[in-house]
């Protein structure tokens, strides 16, 4: 298949079209604006609709309305814009409407800056909106995965009738790499008999993210929880890289994981035995495999582009029998291979002497 050199943001936009998404609503914010720009010409070309909304809030609710009709729909944003979309994501989750939401994240909090960061992990994975809900979160670490995981995102959104978030960052959005657009070929999904399109002779349907009776509301939450347990059973994705018998397990996702692959390779040349576990699905989180790998290696180093967020989930997974270390850079800085290697040597030395 033909390889094309493409920017991450353009690749994710093209992947949406090839996954059958004909409706996109968004609002410009750096560093994700190319997604909107690309779809502004690409969607009309295939008979779809691109609409630049007046705000992030309006964009997510346009997506909500479109999804209610049964169409595939996407919206995207970055950092501060994602905060504005959170209310809508909670509504999508409650109404069980499928929608793909892309966060090409940047440095924060506040207005922050436009450099790549992983400071939105808590917001993405723990749910930034109100109420008892979960969003499937996928974290690409290459331009090719911007395509692969966006294909998957549309499938999972429809399969589980749930919003799916792609948590990427400005590095992956702005970089260019060769990509292959393989044919979108996921198993067929059940018909969207819940969608509303006007009664057309049948009984009316109501999409209702509202339940005033606490007993009924609890039933809704329990039904959602059951779905989330199913997601946790079937949709965990991760990648392992490096030596099977290692002295240290590295855990990182997205851009951090790219750097960690170089760390493993360079470390090997320096005689270090390292293994990388890269979560691809951040929710559901690959807790069990991280625990197993951590016990095998005997020590863990979590590397993130924030001051410690996913490390909490790693700690929950591993428990207190295996020492867990953390290295993070924040504010839009990307940790370098050498600074991580230095940290690794420090960890191995301190573990030896203790």
């Amino acid at each position: 298949m033909k390889k094309i050199l493409m920017k991450g943001n353009d690749a994710i936009a093209e992947a949406a079209v090839r996954a059958g998404c004909l409706f996109y609503f968004g609002y410009p914010i750096t560093p994700q604006t190319e997604i909107s720009e690309y779809l502004s010409w690409r969607l009309p070309e295939v008979g779809g609709v691109f609409l630049q909304a007046e705000s992030e809030i309006a964009a997510v609710y346009m997506a909500y309305g479109a999804s209610a009709t049964g169409k595939r729909v996407m919206t995207s944003s970055s950092g501060p814009g994602m905060s504005l979309k959170q209310e809508g994501i909670s509504y999508l989750a409650c109404a069980e409407l499928p929608c793909v939401i892309v966060n090409i994240s940047r440095g924060g909090p506040g207005l922050g800056n436009i450099q790549p960061s992983q400071g939105d992990y808590f917001q993405a994975v723990k749910g930034g909106g109100h109420g008892d809900y979960r969003v499937i979160v996928l974290a690409p670490s290459s331009v090719q995965e911007m395509v692969d995981l966006n294909y998957l995102a549309f499938h999972l959104a429809d399969l589980y009738r749930n919003p799916v978030l792609i948590l990427s960052d400005g590095m992956l959005g702005q970089m260019m790499e060769p990509v292959v657009f393989w044919e979108y070929d996921f198993p067929e999904l059940p018909p969207k008999d819940w969608a509303i399109q006007g009664k057309n002779g049948r009984e009316r349907k109501i999409i209702l993210p509202l339940n005033l009776d606490p007993r009924e509301m609890e039933q809704v939450n329990l039904r959602l929880a059951k779905k989330y347990r199913r997601v946790e059973e079937y949709e965990i994705r991760f990648e392992c890289f490096g030596q099977e018998e290692a002295d240290l397990l590295l855990v990182g996702y997205g851009t951090s994981a790219r750097v960690l692959k170089s760390v493993v390779r360079k470390g090997e040349k320096q005689g270090l035995r390292l293994r990388l576990l890269r979560p691809i699905s951040l929710y559901p989180f690959p807790s069990r495999v991280i625990k197993e790998e951590a016990q095998r290696a005997g020590r863990v180093l979590v590397v993130e582009m924030n001051l410690g967020q996913m490390v909490e989930d790693v700690t929950l997974a591993v428990g207190d029998r295996v020492p867990i270390h953390f290295h993070g850079r924040s504010g839009g800085l990307i940790p370098t291979v050498d600074e991580i290697l230095e940290k690794i040597r420090f960890v191995l030395k301190s573990e030896e002497s203790s």
Binding site: E54, A59, A66, T69
Partner: protein
Amino acid sequence: MKTIFERPKTLLEKPFTYCPGCHHGLANRLIAEVIDELGQADTTIGVGPVGCSVYIYEFIDIDFVMGPHGRAPAVATGIKRCLPDVLVFSYQGDGDIAAIGTAEIVHTAVRGECITAFFVNNAIFGMTGGQMAPTTLTGQQTTTTPAGRDPLRTGHPLRLGEMLGQLEGSSYLARVALTKPNLIKQAKEAVRRAFLTQQEKRGFSMVEFLSPCPTNWKMTPTDAVDWVDKEMKNVFPLGVIKDWKEGVHVH
């Protein structure tokens, strides 16, 4: 025997749960009547908001999507862009459409989105218990303006219809009241004109209903009707604000 008056088919056989003296029931009924007369019950989608207006889905027998505070016009936009031939309307109170959802309603009108907004203006936040709304009259007492609304502190009443009338994308805008039989007839005509505007794809349409809120105004239903006629109408004059038939706008 000739039937001259009956329940609209699209109005479900269910007693209204609105407060006594509130005009939501009348507004719901008029919308249902017009949907019936246009033969559109199978091809209409309503978008509900929050506040007292949310209950419309309980009474009108069509597909509904409920949105959050103020965002119904954005939800309606998403639906309409996917299903251009379906009649789509939002049904919103003044707190919803003129406070938290001002941006959404303005830009839906700016885009000339072919949807219809029904706006029930009772000059107060109803469901949350009678706080000041953007449409609260100068001097009107509410739970958050206990000494009466003072424009120097809280601004002036917002005339949304007149504001949207400035926008090229709006095609039909009318303000009606339901306090007298002849006004109810005019209101129904406005609902019909608004839906026709949408059917003919001429852009955005809105009908504003002035409605009493005896519960939060702390008045009897009859006094509340009088207050609409004597006080509200002075600030919110009735009539057609804009009509494409007069050659103003063709989408």
